[in-house]
């Protein structure tokens, strides 16, 4: 490539032309065109889309008319009737019972108990209540989920979109006067995304602490978290001063220990609690990335095994995939790729999208295990400060969780888990 290669972007040319040019300079590092994987991804459908689709099936059409309590012959009339129904009516009657109030399931917690549908009139009142002059966000007590009229599915699993009632976007986007809004740091009303703020911008003096939490700074337990790549989380608890020694010097000692103890050996499960029986009690916890990823590794090994296997005389999926021409790099050619895909597409399709959904089942299992790992870590972290997942915090037990916000780039082959864990943890804890 000559030195004086023009790398500028010409704003008078289409974005695609610019992309193709700069991509070439970058060694064709990006694909010419994004191509979906053969394993079917999730697609979104709203009820407006589902009505005409379900109408094509005689059985579903009958069921839909049953739902309306009237036999509509034409789809247009049915859609006219449906226009005034609560969002999610069709979904909660035909596709899932989540959000359907006719069968309250007392044994199951979480979304199953906490979601419901809401009629259009209720929604209108709800919105007008929030937007009214009298409304004070500090008194807002909304909970649970309201079913939207949209689902996502990959043909095997199902996801239901819903509105989260315990958060107000008006608080997040500051549509209320500042004196009416509860403080972000002490209330989840403004949203529980992974966006965190630096504490020094909120708390500047001892008085601030007393105002926000209603207690002296010394009575607060602080859990410090350090996130990283090899060790996804390293945590240390700074207990309230009553529990520790009352001198200032002692606290300094504790802080230096925090730095030293970040790296203790980790037992096989990856979660370890180390307590020193001495006078100074330190509670630390470290979690290794390798431990958290075991479930994912197991799935990858299994999938690799499946791809490598060669049932009597046929070519293995791995070698078929290797034979597909590149979509990126100097030899990238979509035309060649498509040509080869036409020859082998059926085999790949059969392997990835078997009717038994075996790959999706394994993938799902590994995702569940991965989430469970996160849940265990969260629970252990909360136990360190005297709480537990799913249990409301004791009023007397004041605690702050401090999360290291340092950003870093990771160049390892395994993606670092720190950011995904942060978002999981922050959502769960708030």
């Amino acid at each position: 490539m000559p030195k004086d290669q023009d790398i500028s972007i010409d704003l008078n040319l289409p974005a695609i032309k610019n992309f193709m040019r700069v991509n070439k300079l970058n060694g064709n590092g990006w694909k010419t065109v994004p191509v979906s994987p053969i394993l079917r991804p999730f697609f979104t459908f709203s009820e407006t889309d589902l009505l005409p689709i379900f109408w094509k099936s005689e059985l579903l059409k009958r069921k839909m008319n049953e739902l309306a309590g009237h036999v509509y012959a034409a789809l247009g009339d049915y859609q006219e009737w449906y226009k005034d129904q609560a969002p999610g009516t069709l979904i909660t009657q035909l596709i899932t019972d989540v959000g359907c109030s006719r069968k309250p399931d007392k044994n199951s917690g979480g979304y199953r108990r906490n979601s419901r549908t809401m009629t259009l009139f209720e929604m209108k009142d709800h919105i007008n209540h929030i937007r009214g002059v009298q409304f004070d966000p500090r008194d807002y007590k909304g909970r649970g989920y309201i079913v939207q009229s949209t689902i996502r599915t990959d043909g095997f699993r199902l996801q239901l979109l819903s509105w989260k009632m315990n958060e107000l976007l008006a608080v997040r986007y500051k549509r209320f006067p500042e004196n009416k809004v509860p403080l972000r740091i002490a209330s989840p009303l403004g949203g529980t995304g992974d966006y965190l703020t630096e504490i020094r911008n909120v708390v500047k003096s001892q008085n601030d602490v007393e105002q926000i939490w209603g207690c002296a700074p010394d009575d607060i337990t602080i859990l410090g978290l350090d996130l990283g790549q090899t060790f996804t989380v390293a945590a240390y608890v700074l207990p309230p001063r009553d529990a520790a020694d009352k001198t200032v010097n002692k606290r300094k000692v504790l802080q230096t220990h925090q730095v030293e103890e970040v790296d203790p050996p980790v037992e096989e499960h990856g979660v370890e609690e180390e307590r020193q029986p001495a006078k100074e009690k330190h509670t630390t916890l470290t979690v290794k990335q390798k431990a958290v990823l075991q479930a994912t590794f197991k799935y990858r090994r299994w999938l690799q095994g499946q791809r490598d296997s060669t049932p009597s005389g046929t070519e293995s999926i791995a070698s078929i995939e290797r034979s597909l021409p590149a979509l990126r790099g100097p030899d990238a050619s979509v035309a060649n790729y498509e040509h080869r895909l036409q020859q082998v597409g059926d085999n790949l399709e059969k392997f990835y999208n078997k009717s038994s959904n075996i790959i999706k089942r394994h993938q799902w299992d590994s995702q569940k295990a991965y989430r469970a790992e996160y849940a265990i870590i969260t629970d252990k972290l909360l136990k360190m400060i005297g709480g537990s997942a799913g249990k409301p915090r004791d009023e007397s037990n004041k605690s702050i969780i401090a999360v290291g916000l340092g950003q870093f780039a990771s160049k390892n082959r395994l993606s670092s888990l720190h950011s995904s864990f942060t978002s999981f943890f922050v959502r769960k804890v708030q």
Binding site: M1, L11, L13, P14, A15, I16, K17, N18, F19, R21, V22, L25, N26, G27, W30, V33, P34, V35, R40, F43, T44, T48, D49, I53, F54, S57, L59, L60, K83, L94, T96, C100, R112, L120, M123, K124, I127, I146, G155, R157, L158, L160, S162, W163, M165, E167, L168, A170, R175, F176, P177, E178, A335, E338, N353, G406, Q407, F408, A409, K411
Partner: protein
């Protein structure tokens, strides 16, 4: 590789107006930026309006509720099998059509961008496929990921174009959308799709394409925009900035020879890094 975290001074907000040196200047500024926006009350119970306003007030959560069949069975045992069959069918059709569409677009892009000059027609079509890069996109550095995606139900021209194109690929009927029709005739000229007789009887596909591909079209439009538009900006910044593949006046200073070709420079850069690492 760790990037050093740089200390930033805390943001200081003047709590007490008397501390402000220029209160007269400050006041209009805060009132224009911080003035809480009061949203209007809703008067109608029109479904799309209500749904849209609810999304303005509450965030959306995606509940992972298990498998399609189990859920359908819980809802109604009599129709569970049928619902699952239909949904599986719909996902299969959408997935395969989208993939065909992606490959078709890829082939077209490959063909027309190979030559240095673009025809005026192709230029219009490429602009339809992905909006142009704006000056503001280049100026805002790495924050492109943070751009808020407008998830409203209103369909943009792009979405209509892609939905129409997907419908055409699925049903093999010529698209109604003018832009999509233009694109299809161009593809026919290039020999990328079979030429279709304009007067031929239209075939009826099993499911209506507008329902199948309304959201998928929007999804495809967003994917392609982030790939081409944001991708071009990202690569541009990478090539221009830190990459050792690109030689500019700054990298010459760290011992790279501008007279050598890029690969040798890159190898030299790598060896340098290894020496330092050791």
């Amino acid at each position: 590789m760790l990037k050093m975290n740089r200390w930033k001074p805390p943001k200081i907000k003047a709590e007490d107006p008397s501390e402000d040196k220029n209160p007269s200047k400050k006041v209009p500024e805060t009132s224009s930026t911080k003035k809480p926006k009061k949203l209007a009350l809703v008067t109608s119970t029109d479904k799309p309006t209500i749904i849209k306003t609810m999304s303005v007030e509450h965030p959306t959560a995606s509940l992972d509720i298990g498998t399609l069949f189990t859920n359908a069975k819980r809802a109604s045992a009599a129709t569970a099998r049928e619902v699952t069959r239909v949904m599986e069918d719909v996902v299969r059709i959408t997935a395969s059509t989208k993939k065909r569409c992606q490959l078709l677009l890829g082939k077209y892009i490959e063909l027309v961008t190979a030559s240095p000059q673009l025809l005026a027609d192709d230029k219009t079509l490429l602009d339809l496929m992905c909006p142009r890069i704006l000056k503001s996109d280049l100026e805002s550095s790495n924050d492109n990921d943070q751009a808020v995606v407008d998830e409203t139900e209103e369909s943009s021209d792009q979405q209509k174009f892609y939905s129409s194109l997907l419908t055409y690929l699925h049903s093999n009927n010529l698209p109604q959308n003018k832009n999509a029709l233009k694109f299809v005739s161009r593809l026919e000229t290039l020999g990328l799709v079979e030429k279709k007789d304009r007067g031929a009887l239209s075939s009826l596909a099993n499911y209506p394409g507008t329902s199948l591909f309304r959201v998928a079209g929007g999804q495809l439009a967003r994917e392609l925009e982030s790939h081409y538009k944001n991708g071009a900006v990202k690569i541009h910044q990478k090539v221009k900035g830190s990459s050792p593949f690109f030689i500019d006046s700054v990298s010459v200073a760290d011992g790279k020879d501008p007279n050598r070709d890029i690969i040798s420079n890159w190898i030299a850069h790598k060896e340098e890094g290894e020496r330092q690492g050791a």
